[in-house]
C-alpha cells in the first residue's frame, strides 16, 4: 500500500520510492531493499503498476514505476481497509 501511495504524484524509480518513504515519514519507515524489490514485482504481477526504463536525474538508466488505473483502485481499497483497521484498534485500545 505504501508503495502504491508513493506513486500517486507521478512515477518513481526504486531508489526514489525508498527515499520518498524515508523522508516523508522522517526515517520511521525504512524499507529494506531486499523487501522492496520483491514487493515491486508483486505489484507488477497484479497489474497495479507498470514499469518503464527511462533516464534518471544523472542520466543513468533507471526503471520507473507508474500507477495504473487498477492500481489506483487498489490503493483506494487498501486505504479504506487500513482506516477501518486503525479505527478498530483505536476503539479496542481506548476501552482497554
Amino acid at each position: 500500500m505504501l508503495i502504491l501511495g508513493s506513486l500517486t504524484r507521478g512515477p518513481r524509480h526504486g531508489y526514489g520510492i525508498a527515499q520518498h518513504l524515508k523522508k516523508i515519514s522522517k526515517d520511521v519507515l525504512d524499507v529494506g531493499e531486499s523487501s522492496l524489490y520483491p514487493a515491486l514485482q508483486r505489484l507488477l504481477l497484479n497489474g497495479w503498476v507498470t514499469a518503464e526504463w527511462g533516464a534518471s536525474e544523472n542520466n543513468r538508466r533507471a526503471r520507473y514505476y507508474q500507477l495504473t488505473a487498477s492500481g489506483r483502485k487498489q490503493l483506494v481499497a487498501e486505504n479504506r481497509e487500513f482506516d477501518r483497521m486503525i479505527l478498530a484498534i483505536q476503539k479496542v485500545m481506548s476501552c482497554a
Partner: protein
C-alpha cells in the same frame, strides 16, 4: 490475467532477471553516492542473490522450478541411454496401446454400437419369450401394435428385421443385406436421409402396398455411382420394382452389429422379403426383431414391468396364439438378435489379456529402471552427499518414470487410434462391403488410459525410488563395493517382479492353449454331414421375378443338368444351409400319443429338402427311406425325423408309420435320420425334422452338390448351365461345406489369434525381462564368480550355478502361474468347447514352452559369466 503475465515472465526470464539486477545495481550506486561509503551501501542492499530469488519466486513458484529442472534432467538422462529408453517406451506403448484399443472396442460395442444413431442409452431391444423355451423369440406385428397402443413409458417402437436380396454386380450375384423397418424407423433413431425422405407413417400398412426403399450411402456410391438424380429411380428387389425415395447418410450402417445394411424397406413389404407369406395380420407369426426408445427418465425395469403387464393382457385376450408368451426388454449390448452378444465374451477375455500384457510390460520397464539405477548409483550418492533431500531425489525419479509413462501413453493412444477399426477383422467383408465398427477414442477411453498411465507411472517410478532409500553414502564414495545401491533388498524385489512376469505369461499361455484346443475341437467335430466333397450354391429366383410354377420347372431342369455334369456324384436342393446365419423354419407340432405338459407348446425346427438330400449331404438314415420324386405335392404328406426327435416324442416306439402334425397338416413319418448339427457346431442335440421340398415349396432353395471337384471348377460349369436356362440369372458363390463350417467358427478363430498374438508378445517380454534380471545378477556377483574361477571352478560349474538361479525364479513363477491359471480359466468356461479348463495337455505344453523360453533367456548371461576373466574382475 496473472497467469498470462506469469507465462510472459517465464519466457523472458533471463531478460527480466538481467533488468532486475541492473535496477538493483542502480539503487546501490545511488546509496553509495549518498553515503559515500561503498561497504555501507552493500550492507544495506543485503544479499542481492536472496532478493533476486524472492523476486523471481513472486512470478514462478518454487515447485515449478524444481519440476522443470527434473523434466530437463530426466529428458537428458533418457537421451543419454537411447537403448534403454527405446525399449522402455516400446514396452509401455504396446502395453498401454493394447489396453486403450480394447477399451475403445468394448466401449463402442457397449455404449454406441450403431454409428450415427442418437441417444443410444435410451434404446432397448425387445423380443418375445415363450414358456418352456430358453431362447427369445420374435414378436408378431399385431402384438407389437397392441404393445404400442397400451404403453405409456415407451416413446417409440421400432422394427428392424434383417433380410437380404440379391443384386447382380457384373455377372455375379451378391447377397445384399437390408432391413425391413417400421415407418418411424429413421425418425426414431435420429438418422435423416441426406437425399430424399424417410418413410411416411402410412407406409406401414397394406399388403405390399408401398414398394419404396431408402438405400445406403455405400450402395448409392457403388452401384449407382453417386447419381444425383437417384431419387425416384427404381430398383428391382426380390422381383418387385421399388422406388428409391431416400439415401441414408454416410457412415450409417443400420442397427445390426456385424452387418452393414444396404437398403431399408417399410413393414408393408414384408411378404416380398420374408419366407412364409404375408404375416402382418397373423398374430402367431413371430418374425419381428425390434427396438424401443424409452421416454426420458424411464428405466429398463419400469418399462419391463409395463410390458409384462401388457403381455399378460394379450395372453388373456388371445389365448389361441399368445398362450405362454411374454415380452422381454434387453439392454442394447445384450441384444439377442445380433452379433454383439457373441462378441462381448471375447472382448472381455481380451481385456483380461491386455491387462496382463500391461503388467508384464510395466514389470519389464521396472526391471530396466532398476538396472539403470544401479548404474547411476554413484550419481545418486554424490547428490545425497552434497545435500539433496531424499524427497527431492524421489521427485526426480518419479518424474523420469512419468516422462516414460507419458511418452508411452501418447504412443499407445496412437496405436489404439490406428487399431480402432481393427475390430472389423472379426467381421469379414460381405458383399464387398466392409463394416465400420465403432471404436472411437472418446473421453471414457482417454480417462481409462490416463488412469492406466498413472498407475504404471507409480509402479515404475517407485521401483527405483525404493532403492534410493537404502543408499550407503560412504561405501559408494569408496567405489569398492559392488552392490551399494540396494543390495539385498532390491534383489528380492527384482526376483519378485520376474516371478510375477513368469506367472502372468504362463496364465496367458494356458489361456491361449485352451482356446486353441477348443477351436481345434470345434473344427474337427463332425457336424454330422460331409464337409469335404460337398459344395453349396444357389440362384435367387425370387429376386428375378420367378413365380412358383416357373421356379419349379427351373429347379427340376437345373437339377437334371447338374446331375449330368461330369464329376457330380449327386445333387439335391434344400431350403436352408446348416451352420449359416439364417434360421430354419419352425412349427408347433403335435404327435399322436404324446401329451405335452400344460402351458407348453412343443416347437421344432425343420428343413425343406429335395430327393437325395441325405445321400448328397452324407447324413446316414438310421431307418426308413429318403424322399423321392414320388413325394410331390400330389402324394401323401411325409416327413423324416432325427433321432433326438424320435426319442423325445415317440419314446421307445418306432416312429416310422406314425403321424406328426406340422402347421395344421398331418404327415407320416417315413424315416429316421442320424442327428447332425443344424444351427451351430456347438449346439447340443435337439429335435429336428425334414419335409419334402416339393410339398413345402420354396422358390430359392440352396443347391448341394456331392463332387470331388473344386468349387472353382464347378463354379464355371454351373454358371454355364444356369446361363443356358436363363441368361439373366446369376449364380451365388460356390463354396464347400468345409468353408461354410469354417465361416461359422470364424469368431473363435479370431479370438484365438488375438489371444495367441498377445500371449506370444507377453512371452517375449517375459523372456526379455528374465534375460535382464539374469544379466544384472551376473554383473552384480561378478566378483564372486571371478573368485570362484580363480579358485578352480570349471566353466560348467559356473554355468550350472547361474542357470540354476534363473531356473529357480522361473520355477517359482510357473508354480504361481499354475495356481492362478487353475483359478482363472474357469472364467473361460462358456467359450471352451469340449475342453476342460484344467486340461493337463495344455498346462503341460505351456510349461514346456515357458521352460524353453526361460532356458534360452538364462543361457546367454550364464555363458557370458563363464567367459569372465577372473584376474580382471578381482583387480577392479
Amino acid at each position: 490475467m496473472r497467469l498470462i503475465r506469469r507465462l510472459l515472465y517465464f519466457f523472458r526470464q533471463r531478460r527480466k532477471a538481467g533488468e532486475l539486477a541492473e535496477e538493483m545495481e542502480f539503487h546501490r550506486h545511488l546509496l553509495e553516492q549518498e553515503s559515500g561509503d561503498q561497504h555501507a551501501a552493500n550492507r544495506r542492499m543485503g544479499s542481492a542473490m536472496l532478493a533476486r530469488e524472492d523476486a523471481r519466486a513472486v512470478w514462478l513458484p518454487l515447485w515449478f522450478d524444481s519440476v522443470f529442472q527434473d523434466l530437463r534432467v530426466g529428458l537428458r538422462m533418457l537421451r543419454r541411454s537411447p537403448g534403454f529408453s527405446i525399449l522402455a517406451v516400446l514396452c509401455l506403448t504396446l502395453g498401454i496401446g493394447a489396453n486403450a484399443a480394447v477399451f475403445s472396442w468394448i466401449e463402442g460395442i457397449l455404449f454406441r454400437p450403431y454409428p450415427l444413431v442418437t441417444h443410444q442409452e435410451q434404446l432397448l431391444a425387445l423380443t418375445g419369450t415363450a414358456r418352456g423355451e430358453s431362447d427369445p423369440t420374435g414378436v408378431s406385428w399385431p402384438d407389437l401394435l397392441d404393445l404400442q397402443k397400451n404403453s405409456t413409458l415407451i416413446d417409440s417402437f421400432i422394427v428392424s428385421k434383417i433380410m437380404g436380396t440379391t443384386l447382380s454386380i457384373g455377372d455375379r450375384a451378391e447377397v445384399t443385406t437390408g432391413s425391413i423397418v417400421s415407418a418411424n424407423y429413421f425418425d426414431a433413431i435420429g438418422v435423416h436421409p441426406i437425399l430424399g425422405r424417410a418413410f411416411e407413417p402410412g407406409e406401414d400398412t397394406g399388403r405390399n402396398a408401398h414398394p419404396v426403399t431408402v438405400i445406403s450411402y455405400q450402395l448409392w456410391q457403388r452401384r449407382f455411382k453417386g447419381d444425383p438424380q437417384i431419387i425416384g429411380k427404381t430398383q428391382r428387389l426380390n422381383g418387385v420394382l421399388h422406388t428409391i425415395v431416400g439415401v441414408a447418410p454416410e457412415g450409417f450402417y443400420g442397427t445390426f452389429v456385424g452387418w452393414a445394411m444396404q437398403f431399408w424397406v417399410p413393414v408393408s413389404m414384408e411378404e416380398t422379403f420374408e419366407a412364409d407369406g404375408y404375416k402382418l395380420e397373423d398374430r402367431d407369426a413371430r418374425w419381428i426383431e425390434s427396438f424401443v426408445r424409452l421416454k426420458p427418465g424411464v428405466t429398463l425395469d419400469q418399462a419391463q414391468q409395463e410390458m409384462a403387464a401388457v403381455a399378460q393382457r394379450l395372453e388373456n385376450d388371445f389365448p389361441a396364439t399368445d398362450r405362454g408368451r411374454g415380452i422381454k426388454l434387453w439392454p442394447l449390448w445384450q441384444t439377442p438378435f445380433n452379433n454383439a452378444r457373441t462378441l462381448l465374451p471375447t472382448l472381455e477375455i481380451m481385456l483380461v489379456v491386455v491387462v496382463f500384457v500391461l503388467l508384464i510390460a510395466c514389470a519389464n520397464v521396472g526391471n530396466l529402471l532398476l538396472v539403470r539405477s544401479f548404474a547411476r548409483r554413484h550419481e545418486m550418492t554424490v547428490r545425497l552427499a552434497i545435500g539433496a533431500g531424499r524427497s527431492r531425489l524421489l521427485q526426480q525419479l518419479l518424474t523420469e518414470g512419468l516422462i516414460l509413462a507419458a511418452v508411452g501413453a501418447v504412443g499407445g493412444l496412437l496405436v489404439a487410434h490406428w487399431c480402432r477399426h481393427a475390430l472389423v477383422l472379426l467381421f469379414p467383408a460381405r458383399g464387398g462391403v466392409t463394416m465400420h465398427l465403432p471404436g472411437e477414442i472418446d473421453w471414457r477411453v482417454l480417462a481409462l488410459s490416463a488412469a492406466v498411465c498413472l498407475l504404471s507411472t507409480l509402479l515404475l517410478g517407485l521401483v527405483p525410488a525404493m532403492q534410493s532409500g537404502k543408499l550407503d553414502v560412504a561405501g559408494a564414495l569408496k567405489a569398492e563395493s559392488a552392490g551399494v545401491v540396494g543390495g539385498r533388498g532390491t534383489a528380492w524385489f527384482r526376483s519378485g517382479l520376474v516371478v510375477m512376469q513368469v506367472s502372468l505369461s504362463f496364465v496367458l499361455l494356458v489361456g491361449a492353449g485352451l482356446l486353441l484346443q477348443s477351436l481345434q475341437r470345434i473344427r474337427t467335430t463332425s457336424p454330422g454331414f460331409s464337409t469335404r466333397g460337398v459344395l453349396r450354391t444357389s440362384v435367387n429366383l425370387v429376386s428375378a421375378g420367378y413365380d412358383a410354377p416357373r421356379a419349379q420347372t427351373f429347379q427340376d431342369a437345373m437339377l437334371e443338368r447338374v446331375q449330368a455334369l461330369p464329376g457330380v456324384e449327386s445333387a439335391a436342393f434344400a431350403q436352408m444351409t446348416p451352420l449359416s446365419y439364417g434360421s430354419f423354419s419352425s412349427s408347433p407340432i403335435a404327435v399322436d400319443g404324446y401329451q405335452p405338459p400344460p402351458e407348453e407348446q412343443p416347437t421344432v425346427q425343420y428343413n425343406e429338402v429335395g430327393p437325395n438330400y441325405f445321400a448328397t449331404m452324407g447324413i446316414p438314415l438310421v431307418s426308413g427311406r429318403e424322399f423321392t420324386r414320388a413325394d410331390d405335392e400330389k402324394a401323401a404328406l411325409v416327413a423324416i425325423v432325427n433321432e433326438t426327435m424320435a426319442s423325445q416324442y415317440w419314446r421307445g416306439r418306432n416312429p416310422i408309420g406314425q403321424r406328426v402334425q406340422v402347421k395344421g397338416r398331418w404327415m407320416q413319418v417315413i424315416g429316421v435320420a442320424k442327428d447332425s448339427k443344424y444351427q451351430s457346431v456347438r449346439e447340443t442335440p435337439k429335435p429336428f425334422f425334414y419335409v419334402p421340398l416339393r410339398q413345402n415349396f420354396s422358390r430359392s432353395p440352396v443347391l448341394f452338390i456331392r463332387t470331388p471337384l473344386s468349387p472353382e471348377t464347378m463354379a464355371s460349369a454351373l454358371s454355364r448351365e444356369v446361363h443356358t436356362l436363363d441368361a439373366n440369372l446369376a449364380l451365388y458363390e460356390v463354396i464347400s461345406l468345409q468353408e461354410q463350417l469354417d465361416r461359422s467358427t470364424s469368431p473363435q478363430l479370431v479370438a484365438v489369434t488375438l489371444v495367441g498374438v498377445l500371449g506370444s508378445l507377453a512371452l517375449l517380454l517375459c523372456a526379455i525381462g528374465l534375460y535382464g534380471v539374469m544379466s544384472y545378477a551376473v554383473s552384480q556377483s561378478s566378483r564372486e564368480l571371478g573368485l570362484r574361477m580363480a579358485l578352480g571352478a570349471s566353466a560348467s560349474d559356473l554355468l550350472r550355478q547361474v542357470m540354476s538361479r534363473g531356473l529357480t525364479l522361473t520355477g517359482g513363477g510357473v508354480l504361481l502361474g499354475v495356481a492362478v491359471a487353475l483359478g482363472l480359466t474357469r472364467l473361460l468356461g462358456h467359450l471352451l468347447y469340449k475342453v476342460s479348463p484344467r486340461d493337463p495337455l495344455v498346462f503341460g505344453s505351456a510349461f514346456v514352452v515357458m521352460s524353453i523360453a526361460a532356458v534360452a533367456a538364462c543361457f546367454l548371461p550364464a555363458w557370458r559369466a563363464t567367459r569372465t576373466d577372473p584376474a580382471r574382475i578381482l583387480r577392479d
